[in-house]
């Protein structure tokens, strides 16, 4: 019965560094179609939060509207969630982040939510470098309204309805690179070995971390004519590198051959270990990421993995020079200048 998930969990499940088991990061049972890529991404989020030893209540999950935006119900039920309106999650996340800079913000959006109705907010949240993880579950179609093409559908790709898409695709990754995003990655819902470390790195990144996850819609867009099907992506997937996220508290135990690997250190002392690097690509060089992306596109490849990271990213709070204490904890004494100051101000108006 997919509307009831049994309460029992594996009795030997290990716990993470803060004593939580993976089940502490679960949510309600999914109501998406069986085999939906989005569910895999939810599972990857659960896995990443578990491995990162995130306290579930110290994370807030936010979404817009659409199949993808339903998913926050399906993970982290001990986290506050906010299912906002279509395409407007970035503004909610921005406000939430302003109010409390100490929580982790995890935004989930879809291709319709981010590349169409919410494009305005998407580009501006990138500009502001809001400290959040922003995942687009990208299936190239509108699932909840029965499979219309979305703005990320490739030209000539056809969904279940059979009509080929006439218009050029919007590549959110390319857009994010162009807009100056400080963390840009693409992954595939069917590749958790890549996706989980990317989500972990995104959580550690101090700023806007964007992951475009190709996530097949099994019901409307998993046809041979689709470029967002399981088969197509598996056949055309090309990774920039393989990736390991090493939290600051862990000792680095694996040695990799120089030249083949690189290490990106993050501000909190954690590090990204990248191996099997793509040629002519440096994750810290935006131009090389753009080139690599275009090269892959020309060859018909779906380029995945970490594309670009700016380890010196300054997030919105740094740009705004807000106090370190969360704004939502400030009290009257911090906020209200008092009667005397008001009296002085009044004097200026006489």
């Amino acid at each position: 019965m997919t509307y009831i998930k049994p309460k029992f969990r594996h009795p030997d499940m290990p716990t993470n560094q803060i004593g939580y088991s993976k089940s502490d990061y679960e949510g309600a049972i999914s109501t998406l179609c069986g085999g939906c890529g989005h569910d895999s991404i939810s599972a990857a989020i659960v896995q990443a939060c578990y491995e990162m030893s995130v306290e579930p209540h110290r994370l807030a999950k936010l979404s817009g509207i659409g199949c993808s935006s339903k998913t926050p119900t399906y993970f982290l039920s001990n986290s506050h969630g906010f299912n906002s309106v279509h395409g407007r999650m970035p503004s909610i996340a921005t406000g939430a982040s302003l109010a409390n800079r100490e929580l982790i913000y995890l935004g989930v959006s879809g291709d319709g939510d981010s590349a169409s109705i919410g494009m305005g907010q998407f580009v501006h949240v990138i500009r502001r470098n809001v400290n959040m993880v922003y995942i687009v579950m990208n299936n190239g179609c509108y699932g909840l309204t029965k499979g219309q093409n979305s703005a990320t559908a490739d030209v000539n790709a056809a969904s279940k309805s059979g009509s080929a898409n006439l218009y050029p695709t919007i590549d959110l990754v390319g857009l994010a690179l162009e807009l100056g995003a400080t963390f840009v990655a693409r992954s595939f819902s069917g590749d958790k070995t890549q996706l989980v470390p990317l989500i972990k790195a995104a959580m550690a990144h101090p700023g806007f971390a964007f992951i475009d996850v190709v996530s097949p819609c099994v019901t409307f867009n998993n046809k041979p004519t689709s470029t967002k099907s399981y088969d197509y992506v598996r056949e055309h997937q090309e990774a920039t590198s393989s990736i390991d996220f090493v939290p600051s508290r862990d000792e680095i135990v694996i040695d990799y051959r120089e030249g083949d690997s690189t290490v990106v250190e993050l501000h909190d002392g954690s590090a990204l270990h990248l191996h099997k690097l793509a040629p002519h690509w440096d994750p810290r060089d935006r131009a090389s990421a753009v080139n690599r992306l275009l090269t892959a596109k020309a060859k018909g490849e779906v380029l995945t993995g970490l594309l670009y990271i700016d380890p010196g990213s300054q997030d919105m709070h740094e740009l705004e020079q807000t106090v370190l204490q969360p704004l939502n904890t400030l009290q009257e004494k911090d906020l209200c200048p008092g009667a005397e100051a008001l009296g002085k101000i009044m004097g200026g108006f006489r």
């Binding site: 407007r88 302003l98 807000t322 200048p337 008001l342």
Partner: protein
Amino acid sequence: MEHLRAVNDMVVRFANVNGTGSASANNMFAKSIFRMGIPVAPKNIFPSNIQGLPTWYEVRVSEKGYLGRRDGIDLMVCVNPQSLAQDVASVQPGGYFVYDNTKKLHPEFVRDDIHYIGIPMTEMCNHHFSEPRQRQLFKNVVYVGALAALLDIEWDVLTGIIRDQFKKAEKLIAPNIKALELGRQYIHDHFAYPLGIRVERRDLVGDSVLIDGNTAAGLGALYGGATVAAWYPITPSTSVVNAFEKYAHQLRTDPETGRRKFAIIQAEDELAAMGMVMGATWNGARAFTATSGPGVSLMSEFLGLAYFAEIPVVLVNVQRGGPSTGMPTRTQQADLLLAAYASHGDTRQVLLFPSSPKECFDHTAAAFDLADRLQTPIIVMTDLDLGMNDHLSPPFHWDDLRAYDRGKVLDAEALESIQQFGRYLDTDGDGICYRTLPGTHPTKGSFFTRGTSKDEYARYTEDGAAYTRNVDRLMKKWETTKKYLPPPELFQESNQHAQGLLFFGTTAYPALESMDLMQAEGIGFDAIRLTAFPFNETVEAFIRDHEQVFVIEQNRDGQMRSLLINELGVNPQKLVSVLNYDGKPISANVIKNQIVGRFQAVS
């Protein structure tokens, strides 16, 4: 030829080209009279333009303390050839017309029933100042100097204002005083003065201040504890956030670290502005935005979510002329229905109607408490007239013992003590439920905020019964709301007349003045000033207890009247609209004429 004669009772209008720096000179004029202890009511009449179009500044001087706009110009200072014809025509017979006679006035503009006072302002400035920008700017100061003589403004008061104004740029004091002197001297040398209309020191303003409503609202937000302001620039609300920003920088910056106890984000549009406010308030910060009608239209989507998901919001709506882009720089009270029922579905929003800068301050500060207490948007409905014009206002006060009412928020300790947290569970029976903030407790109190229907435990449901329970509870909360809102103001000890006047916001000044005017003609009224929506029992009783109630408002459709009929089930025959919607603030005469006209028509 007749000479208008009056002491401390006149309307002086300045006709300028916008972008020429006339505003500060005109302000100086108004302030000088204010500092002589005489009530003034200045109004900007400006175009939606940055440079080169006509703009007017009008100052009503009223010893009786009438602060509404009065029709008829007693003295016109015209330094704009583009509006010359119109300006000449607008002066009352017997009135005065001050102009720059560097260029000779064309005969077609010469009326024989007004007095012309030509001053070669350009010529004088060209002679005395070398910088082109200074020549431009000081022309304005010159005419203020001239007015000092013509109207008998105390010289020390004027120079005092200049000294105050340039406290931080002292080298500008002397040239400004020089320009003033030039104007005064020219009058002294060429005209008999003072004129028939003039001012005379009084002690009528007490400790009042001369301040605009937007500054007041911005200060109210600061004192109300706002830490996040998210906004999109739009006339006439922009200066609300500007004021907040100015005072926040002064008063909320940590002197040691330079870090700020606030954040102001200029959003990409009003949708995002409202989204940021909601994200912040959902997460426990006090946040607000300011906008005008077009912005409210865009925010409607989020306002529905805020109403339904019960998220506190403070929104200052500085109304302007609509619909659509409408008259962006003119005033109206025409967003009432839009705001009261903002968003699709069964929504209703709490509105506050300040009618003075002091109330802009008080209502905005209180709006944060109300929003937290009621967990819903609070919309402060001011307008361009109140927001952008200086008004004589009682000074604002703050009680240092006042604590913010953060409403029903459960902390970790409280969550520990309850069995099962239900976000939309009406445990107190007042329709207001307890909320929790993200990050409070590891295992208790998390919930999902959503715009879709849900049950008492915030779980998604499409069950009609659960939906009905929820929206019915929201109506219960609506009833509860009434007891928290500021009460209406009655202008009577008891009901003495069969007719009543009902007004709100900036309509209050001229409405009260019109009462005096009509009283003088032997027509008496009871009166009530609304301060909030939903309407409480006092409003209901006032309408019930009068045969006829004139609803005075500044829109075409009688929106407040509709709201009263709709919400209170009043017989529409009983409510008579008194309307003005030409974009200028309504005047006492307009009110009087419409009401008296109605009586004449009936009799």
